[in-house]
């Protein structure tokens, strides 16, 4: 298959043209956003379009920080995302280990009950979750709505994460675990010394897709945050875009600030990211 096209020069040229045009369509909008973020507001919709900002300015970036506490949003996103990733890696893996390797009554039935919830979209739980967070806030003002806990708790485990880790852990041979038990190792010792090192690549995958989901999450953070103290980047950016329908340069500067770090991390860890996000597809 690889050689069918490759051997004919004309087809090969067409192939590269097609690839070039499509990647231009993919990268172009990002470039346009970045270029716009450096334009004075008069030039944003200049005709003919200015593909290179001239004159260029950092004014938009200054505006973003004076209009909204963007550094705070960034900080909040980092805190919330790290907590969700950490909790998922620990709890999903622990549960997956139990479902994969331990024997207890009703194990497979409980696992089945968990799997069924994969069919339930998050929005079904939205309103009750919101009410839970309101109740929690009444119970203790440091918890619930408009605190980090509201952003973190509903995402602390993922059924898909448990499922994925279970698939992964099942490939560890029982004999290794048995011989450790014979040698007198406790379950937590086995987990720490044998399972975790062997499961590390799976946990990396879990961490990456949890990270992406949490970092980009929008609807839930939008609903449970009312103050800048806890708002995350996507919520902040959406506010900026709504607040500011005149000066698109500012909004594009906000976009660049929100997306830039993520894109840089992706370019460095590309292979891992792609594997992480498409995990399960080959078995599916």
């Amino acid at each position: 298959m690889t050689t069918v096209v490759a051997r004919r020069p004309l087809r090969r040229t067409l192939l590269y043209i097609a690839l070039f045009i499509t990647s231009l369509l993919m990268i172009g909008p990002f470039y346009w956003a970045l270029a716009t973020s450096f334009k004075p507001s008069a030039d944003v919709f200049a005709s003919p379009p200015k593909f290179i900002p001239s004159p260029w300015t950092l004014e938009n970036y200054r505006d973003v920080f004076t209009l909204l506490p963007f550094q705070r949003y960034f900080f909040n996103s980092v805190i919330v995302t790290s907590a969700i990733v950490g909790l998922n890696v620990v709890f999903d893996t622990a549960a997956a280990y139990a479902f994969a390797k331990l024997r207890f009554p009703g194990r497979d039935f409980v696992f089945f009950l968990l799997l069924v919830t994969l069919m339930v979209p998050f929005q079904v739980n939205l309103i009750p979750l919101y009410r839970i967070m309101v109740a929690l806030h009444r119970f203790n003002p440091h918890l619930g709505v408009d605190t980090y806990s509201a952003l973190i708790l509903p995402g602390m485990i993922q059924v898909f994460g448990i499922f994925l880790m279970r698939q992964f852990l099942r490939s560890i041979p029982d004999e290794i675990l048995e011989s450790a038990r014979v040698d007198g190792a406790g379950e937590f010792m086995i987990l720490r010394k044998i399972v975790v090192p062997l499961a590390a690549p799976g946990m990396a995958t879990l961490a990456i897709f949890t990270f992406l989901g949490a970092w980009n999450d929008f609807l839930w953070p939008l609903l449970v945050t009312n103050t800048d103290a806890v708002r995350t980047l996507p919520v902040g950016l959406a506010l900026l875009a709504r607040k500011n329908t005149v000066n698109w340069g500012d909004t594009m500067a906000g976009t660049a600030l929100a997306a830039g770090p993520m894109i840089l991390v992706f370019l460095v860890l590309q292979r891992r990211f792609i594997e992480g996000l498409t995990a399960g597809s080959l078995k599916g």
Partner: protein, 274 residues
């Protein structure tokens, strides 16, 4: 060891599912007590013009997006599966939007689709008709679809590419010996080998598309005149109007649609896999 996960699942999954179902059968504003009204919320919804519009728009969004996205993903995977230089670069180019939050992508496209935005400028340069894409009732939904496909099809590209590379070469060699052309090989070797991957892409894609919200919120706010109102948007609107009963009923309609689809897909998959 399963205890933390089960407690979390109990509190944040099972309890909400049950309450959502219960509230869908009540009149409830969030204050005071929910009042039992039976199926009234559902009968009301299906007579409600806004809800029906939302249902229709959501189906349109799913059909249009799923009609275009996976096909584009498959074609670009075919392109990338050739022995090309810089494959890593091209693959990354397709994949960057997938990593980026929908809010970011929607904001960028809102600028591109602006009346005086780049897209209209390019169109008028080629003397093609320009439009107010996002403030026109006929073009707003397709514009949101294009944005969503642009954001998501890189995922499908990468999934298809990985699967393409797993197809044994011998199958193609055999087809070539029989004199099959490139497109005949695609049809008779590639597509059948990708059956489970295609299934996976559509399941994930359809479930995700039914939940569309972020890009609507940013790009159109459900407008103009509800022309981009979707099910989840409708749900959140009713929730914001403190009509928790009807909002929960919308949630359960969404659940019913997805459950039915999952059932149908599993059914097709089981039969096809044999």
């Amino acid at each position: 060891m399963v205890a933390p996960a089960l407690i979390a699942a109990g509190v944040f999954l099972y309890v909400p599912i049950v309450f959502s179902g219960y509230w869908s059968l009540t009149e409830y504003s969030g204050l005071g007590k929910p009042e039992w009204v039976g199926l009234t919320n559902y009968t009301h919804l299906f007579r409600d013009a806004e809800f029906r519009k939302a249902l229709l728009n959501t189906f349109l969004f799913v059909v249009l997006g799923m009609g275009i996205g996976p096909v584009l993903g498959f074609l670009s995977a075919l392109l990338l599966n050739n022995a090309v230089r810089f494959r890593g670069f091209f693959r990354a180019a397709y994949f960057v939007p997938v990593m980026t939050s929908l809010v970011v992508v929607a904001t960028i496209w809102k600028v591109l689709l602006n009346d005086q935005g780049l897209i209209n400028q390019i169109l008028s340069f080629f003397e093609l008709p320009t439009r107010s894409w996002l403030s026109n009732t006929t073009t707003a939904l397709p514009a949101v679809v294009v944005t969503s496909v642009w954001q998501g099809f890189g995922f499908e590209t990468v999934v298809f590419l990985a699967a393409l590379q797993g197809i044994p070469r011998e199958l193609y060699d055999a087809a070539k010996v029989d004199g099959a052309s490139y497109w005949q090989q695609v049809r008779n070797v590639t597509l059948p080998s990708l059956r489970s991957t295609i299934m996976f892409v559509y399941i994930i894609g359809i479930i995700g598309s039914f939940q569309v919200y972020d890009q609507i919120y940013v790009m159109t706010g459900g407008g103009p005149i509800n022309s981009t109102r979707t099910l989840v948007f409708d749900l959140v609107e009713r929730f914001n109007q403190l009509d928790l009963g009807q909002a929960s009923a919308v949630a359960y309609v969404l659940l019913a649609i997805l459950a039915l689809l999952s059932y149908v897909q599993i059914f097709i998959f089981e039969r096809g896999g044999r």
